[in-house]
């Protein structure tokens, strides 16, 4: 049984966690991430390198840039992805269920 703590420590940094959470939504380029976060492109690249070394993300070339996504190798990534997916979905569901309470049902 091997237990690598790399993934957890890589995510200990709030900026890396923010990057990871955005990649959990969908793959993104460095430029997109830098545009969405209060971090420079070089800093984003540096964080992505740490996440990549920890085995949490992979990248692929797309034209003259690289697209980063969660490493799909394993149930763990799928769980993390769906965990966020369903939490967001249920929050939206709550809003809908509590709106206009007399219309449906």
């Amino acid at each position: 049984m091997t237990y690598r703590a790399d993934g957890i420590s890589a995510l200990g940094d709030p900026t890396r966690r923010a990057i990871f959470e955005r990649l959990a939504e969908r793959p993104r380029s460095v430029g997109e991430l830098a545009g969405e976060l209060p971090v420079s492109r070089p800093a984003v690249s540096q964080h992505l390198k740490v996440l990549k070394d920890a085995g949490l993300v992979i990248d692929r070339p797309a034209g003259n840039r690289r697209i980063y996504q969660l490493d799909p190798n394993g149930v763990g990534a799928l769980r993390a992805y769906l965990d966020r997916f369903w939490n967001q979905a249920l929050t939206a569901f709550k809003t809908a269920a509590e709106a206009e309470p007399k219309e449906v049902s």
């Binding site: 690598r4 949490l56 490493d71």
Partner: protein
């Protein structure tokens, strides 16, 4: 927590200020009112989402061009307390035709008073996506054992 066993389910819940009947109907037949419009796998523009309220029915997206995408089968339909659907979508948001490679989502609606309902959701058997999941992965190698770390992260997010 053991790190050897990979949990193959995602569980989450939410409490809504609505009677159980309404929570159930909004979740099922009203799915189009809350589902994220970005999470559709139709080629064209989405016209509506349809939840067929019976076992053997489907949940599907209908495009404005009339095309349909049936991405779930209704496996259990027990208003107002429980519904189970299959998840016929692979990890790249494409339809999965092989039922052996699909997971399932069970949703329970538990009344917590006349106007309050706890909604418990479990998305399980995620390992069934495994085959396709591995095929899709890029040739980039990855270190062993990281799913355990990622699971820890997921747990922490929920805490």
């Amino acid at each position: 927590m053991t790190v050897q066993t990979i949990d193959t389910s995602v569980r989450t819940s939410i409490v809504v200020e609505a009677p159980v009947e309404r929570a159930f109907s909004v979740f099922t037949e009203g799915i189009g009112s809350w589902w994220n419009p970005d999470h559709h796998i139709l080629e064209g523009e989405l016209a509506e989402m349809v939840f067929e309220p019976r076992v053997g029915g489907h949940v599907y997206d209908r495009g404005v061009d009339g095309s349909e995408c049936r991405w779930a089968r209704v496996l259990a339909y027990e208003p107002p307390n429980r519904v189970v659907i299959s998840w016929d979508i692979n990890t790249q948001w494409q339809l999965e035709a092989d039922p052996g490679r699909t997971s399932e989502v069970e949703v329970r609606f538990v009344p917590e008073g006349a106007d309050r309902t706890r909604v418990e959701l479990e998305h399980r058997n995620l390992d069934r996506h495994g085959g396709g999941w591995e095929q899709m992965r890029d040739a980039v190698g990855s270190p062993d054992g990281w799913p355990a770390g990622l699971r820890g992260f997921a747990e922490r997010l929920k805490a």
